[in-house]
Symmetry: C2
Subunit: 180 residues, 2 copies
C-alpha cells in the first residue's frame, strides 16, 4: 500500500530539507575565529557544525514522534516487568508499526546495553549497497535513534541510542539504559 | 494501527521544526529598510517572509512526496481518459492511502477548476474546532496542497492548488488546471 511508503518518502524529504538548510560552508566560514579551519576537525566524518545540528534536530523529531507513538500503545504494554520485555516489544511491535518488518536480532550484555540489528534497514535500502555511500548513512539513522529513545522514554526507560553501519543496508542500534 | 498515526506525528514535527527555524522577527527587523514595519503588510494574515518561505518549503516537500506516491500507483490508473477521473482518483484512492478516509465532496465548474472539500481534515482535527486557531491553519495545509499538485503532476496534469478554511477542522482545496 502507498501509506507504508508515505513515511519513507516524508522521511527522505525531511532529511534532504534539513541538509539543504545547512550546506557545508567550508573551513573557516564557521562562527569561530577564521584561519583555524581544516578537514577532520571535530568529528570522525569531518561533519560541520550545521550538519551536527541537523542530526540533533532529526533525533529530536524522532524522539517526540517516538513519545507520541509510545502513548498510543495498548495500556497492557505499559505493565512490562522486565527491561528485556520492553526491548523485545520495540524490536517486534514498534518496528512492525513503523517499518512493516521485525528487527533481525537483539543482543544484550545483561548490564543495560542492548544491540538491535537490522540486516536490511528500510531507510537505507534505497541507497546503493556496499561502502561507497557509508558517509551519508548517519543522517538516515538519526530520526530512528530518536524514535527508539522516545518510545523507551514513554515506557519509563531513560536511554542513550546510537547507530552504526558497517555495510549498507544493514545497521545496528545500540541502546544504553541510563540508571538514575 | 500506529502506522497511520506515524505520518500525522511526523507532519506535526515537520511543521513545528520549520516554524521554529523562522520565528517572527517582529515588524521592522526584516531585510527591507527599517521604519516601514507594521502589521498587515504584505499578506492577508500578516505573515513574515520567513513564514512564507516555510510554507513554500512545506509545499515543495508535499509536491515531491506526491510525485513519488504518484509513481507507485498501479499502471492502469495512468490511462485515465478524463481529467475528472483523475480528480476522483485523488479524492478516493490517494486520500485513502494518506489519510485513511475519502474526500467528502468534489465539485467542478467544468472549466478546469475543482473544489475538493473535507469536512474533517485529519491534519486539522487535533486543533480546537471553531475560529480561534484559524490563523494557524495554513501551515497545516501547505504540505497537502503540494501533495495534490505532485500527484497530479505525475499523472500528467499541471495545476495550482490552494487551500482555505472557514471553520476548523473542515477545509477546501481548490485545484486549477493549468492548460499549456
Amino acid at each position: 500500500m502507498a501509506d507504508a511508503a508515505l513515511f519513507e518518502f516524508l522521511h527522505t524529504e525531511m532529511v534532504a530539507e534539513l541538509w539543504a538548510q545547512d550546506p557545508d560552508p567550508g573551513p573557516g566560514v564557521s562562527a569561530g575565529p577564521r584561519g583555524e579551519g581544516g578537514t577532520g576537525r571535530g568529528g570522525k566524518a569531518g561533519r560541520t557544525k550545521g550538519q551536527k545540528m541537523s542530526l540533533s534536530v532529526l533525533e529530536g523529531m524522532g524522539f517526540r514522534v517516538g513519545q507520541a507513538l509510545g502513548e498510543r500503545l495498548p495500556r497492557e504494554t505499559l505493565a512490562f516487568r522486565e527491561e528485556l520485555d520492553v526491548l523485545k516489544f520495540l524490536c517486534k511491535d514498534v518496528w512492525a508499526a513503523v517499518f512493516q518488518k521485525q528487527m533481525d536480532s537483539l543482543r544484550t550484555n545483561h548490564q543495560g546495553t542492548y544491540v538491535l540489528q537490522d540486516h536490511s534497514f528500510p531507510l537505507l535500502i534505497r541507497m546503493a549497497s556496499g561502502l561507497q555511500y557509508l558517509e551519508e548513512a548517519p543522517k538516515f539513522l538519526a530520526f530512528t535513534c530518536g524514535l527508539l529513545r522516545g518510545t523507551l522514554s514513554t515506557l519509563g526507560i531513560k536511554s542513550l541510542v546510537t547507530a552504526s553501519v558497517a555495510a549498507l543496508p544493514a545497521c545496528k542500534f545500540q541502546v544504553v539504559i541510563q540508571r538514575s
